[in-house]
Subunit: 308 residues, 2 copies
């Protein structure tokens, strides 16, 4: 497995990518990252999933908190509150550097891909990080509280509203970022990280060309299930599945990815009986670095077993 592509979203996905990056030679690993969570806040362009991956791979992530930087300070937020500014979205002082530098570079005509590559390079990250698209795709939720932008649902409302439908605004006109399709086509394996299938992976698959490239590849495609013991490790996956009237189990996850995946990696104690999908098992909870390497290795092993 010289060239591996992983489709990834937020924290759970970043853990798998970190594990993979410790196993594989740097330039063989490409992460294609969800940007459906991206938004403008106070005029700043914020790319939460790209940032989480940058922080995780450079060793700057706040592991305990699950987002943002380790050792962050909060003077900006305190001063913003004094000015009567919006404070529902937390922006750490160090974290702001990414947002300000990105927003400035975008205004100067650089693409999100170029900017992300430059940040990764500055921080010595060998893994190639590609945004799914350089165009704007916005995840919008139709809920019992009305239509909500992703961060309003996820951060401000803490996922409390019941979701009826999820939309990816702009997706039909978006094109995959440069190198995305080529990376999928030349990959020896494609992995789908244990990110939220509906909120983190579906936006990626909604960008025209990405889903079909994965359908067409002869390389094995393996999903790592986000469920452990019938619930999600983190975030609203299980609640969302109930609201969307699915059973909260690996069969539902496998069915959701039907036509795309050849195998699914699930937790040792769990079951999956989806037809035509090969099931791999390991302890999928990723707390320590060893956990992340173990899950990454198990996903690669399943891919190797399914090589054509």
């Amino acid at each position: 497995m010289k060239r591996v592509v992983v489709l990834t979203g937020g924290v759970g996905g970043a853990k798998l990518v970190l594990g993979l990056s410790r196993i594989m030679a740097g330039d063989g690993l490409t992460a294609i990252v969800n940007t459906g969570d991206d938004f403008r806040h106070l005029g700043l362009h914020i790319s939460p999933d790209i940032d989480t991956l940058l922080y995780t791979l450079s060793g700057k992530a706040n592991g305990a908190q699950g987002w943002g930087r380790e050792g962050e300070s909060w003077s900006f937020m305190a001063a913003l509150r004094e000015l009567g500014g919006e404070d529902w979205f937390q922006l750490g002082d160090g974290d702001l550097a990414l947002h300000v530098a990105r927003t400035h570079a975008l205004a100067q005509g650089r693409s999100l891909s170029q900017i992300t590559a430059r940040f990764a390079d500055q921080w010595g990250i060998a893994t190639r990080i590609l945004p799914m698209s350089d165009q704007t795709v916005a995840t919008i939720l139709d809920t019992d509280q009305g239509r909500l932008e992703f961060q309003r649902y996820f951060v401000e409302q803490r996922c409390a509203p019941a979701v009826r439908h999820i939309m990816f605004e702009g997706a039909t006109h978006a094109v995959p970022a440069p190198a995305v399709i080529e990376a999928i086509q030349s990959a020896d394996a494609v992995l789908i990280a244990p990110s939220n299938p509906f909120l983190s992976v579906d936006p990626l698959l909604a960008v025209p060309g990405i889903g079909s490239a994965i359908e067409r590849t002869k390389a094995p495609v393996i999903a790592v299930s986000p469920l452990v013991g019938g619930t999600a490790v983190k975030g609203p996956t299980a609640k969302l599945m109930q609201e969307l009237r699915m059973a909260v189990d690996n069969d539902s996850i496998a069915r959701h990815y039907a036509g795309l995946i050849d195998g699914i990696l699930i937790d040792s104690g769990d079951r999956c009986e989806a037809p035509d999908i090969v099931v791999g098992r390991c302890a999928t909870l990723m707390t320590t670095l060893d956990d992340k390497i173990r899950v990454a290795q198990a996903a690669l092993d399943l891919a190797i077993a399914l090589r054509p």
Copy 2:
């Protein structure tokens, strides 16, 4: 003296305004502030002289450092450096809140006047703070190192280049901010703060209508000299006067303001022999709050003595 207008720039000016604010009823004092130093940095709109005044009047200024906020933290700059960002201009974490909030509000169509008034209101500042103009006026220096924007000269080059000529780009098309002319016309006295006459006060006078309103007012107009003992308390005033081939003395300051001022307040130990200008004296060095109140009172006393 119910209504007093003060034309002001950076740190020295803010000290005088603070002194005045402790003597006068809040809504009687209007500060018209230089915005020729304003610039865009990393996409953020920075208004150094307005910020210095906001910090000074709200008790947040870092007195020892002479700029920025007391108790500031610097995580943003450290993170920006890690990203390879421009670091010649220091942006404190708390200070960033002003720049981000201002830039965002400008992008939403608010004017610099409206934004400044809202910030002052949030911080409980009674003094009315008016930018000289809501349009862009940029102080540009023609130097022996070429043409330099103000902050490049002042911060990056630490005023080292020799100045040959000073320009105020955009001034001819700018209009005074709302309430500026009315404030001058209805003032019982107009003061010119001990700010740099060439870099901080001249941009104000370059905005069409401001200089002529001051020429026409029947109210006394008093300049407080920035020189003490033949040199400037702070900043490049003395060096600049030499480069512009002026004697570094109060006569030169008075001559520079000829036609505008009726009186000049100079330091007790200094001289001024300009014709037709009434000279007031006090110890003009402003270190403590008592110093600031003393100088403010002396300027007001001179204005009272010159009342028509």
